[in-house]
Amino acid sequence: MNIAALPHRELRRRLASPGLRIRLGPIVVRIRSPFETVASAIRFHYAEYAAADADAFTDFDVSVASAGGARRFVKRQAIFDFEGHRPFRPLPAAQAYPLLEWGLNWCIAANCHQYLIVHAGVVERAGRVMLLPARAGSGKSTLCAALVTSGWRLLSDELALIDMASHWIVPIPRPISLKNASIDVVANAWKDSRMSAPVADTTKGLVAHVSAPLQSVRRAHEPAALGWIVAPSFRDGAVTELARMPRADAFMQVVDNAINYSVHGRQGFSVVADLVDAAECFRFSYGGRLDDAAKCLDALAPK
């Protein structure tokens, strides 16, 4: 059963008490939260995701609850909790849903060590994955949105899960997180996108989420092999340019953005080296129109 099939009252009941179990690619999360904004955002962004059975194994048991303490009498706050761990400070209640998304990212990055995890956007076309490894602020989520609009499948805008044995990339499509100016850029370029109302004054500025396309959600069980490593960099007004990148640079780009590289030691080195051997490697700078950026990368994988 999909989340969409749950009446809103039932959705809120599950979020309030036993927890709402959602299958996100290879993992199942159980979410609890009393916030209506969280319930509404889940209904909006996760409608087509499978609601896992009550007896399904749960990878992450999380909550976004009302924070205690004296501040709650002044202004309601939300706190993210993962089995007693509270990796973030309480945030204003208006940020409860973004906090859930950030918390899920943290859970995956800190715990899914069966994968090599790279901070990267990941899209796929014609059976080949494009890995976009980059630090925050380099425009990878915006670029993911542009590529998805152009027909690429979204595997993730944030975390690449690389299977250690096969070296295939495992999808975990979730809402694309946009910040500040990129919100309007994507809204203008992708007219039929499903974007939730922006939330202001977060630690990242203004944030909004765009739902993963339905086809990406439906194909969340289909991993794919790497085709390209593309290191993106966004600079306002920059000319769109795709240039070959030396493999040693591509290797270091992936390692520098691999969240749990040190956990995997020698095997991690071999996996990244094998990926670099198998991929075509590029640097990509952009800063103008999003459709130009997508068109340039589309040329690597004609439909």
């Binding site: 030396p246 493999r247 290797f251 270091m252 390692v255 030691g265 670099v276």
Partner: protein, 92 residues
Amino acid sequence: MAHDRVWRPTGPIEWRKWDDRFVVFHSPSGDTHELSELGGCTLLTLAAHPLGLGVGDVIRRLASETRAVTPTDVLSVLEALAERGLVAPIAR
């Protein structure tokens, strides 16, 4: 004298070479390094001789396998590798 020293690798490594650059995984530290061609070739030469080699031996092996280099070049590379903990000098 630095030229008199014997140099040895500090542990096993994994490596790859693309074009003229190496990337190296140093097992004891878990660190990954990017090296120039001369740096990589020097490290591989020492890795094949875990008991150590003098600078002259390193130069001879590099010259026979890849390229001619000066003692100053090699010493400078060995010191740079030592700074990264990849090799270490031992007393003769």
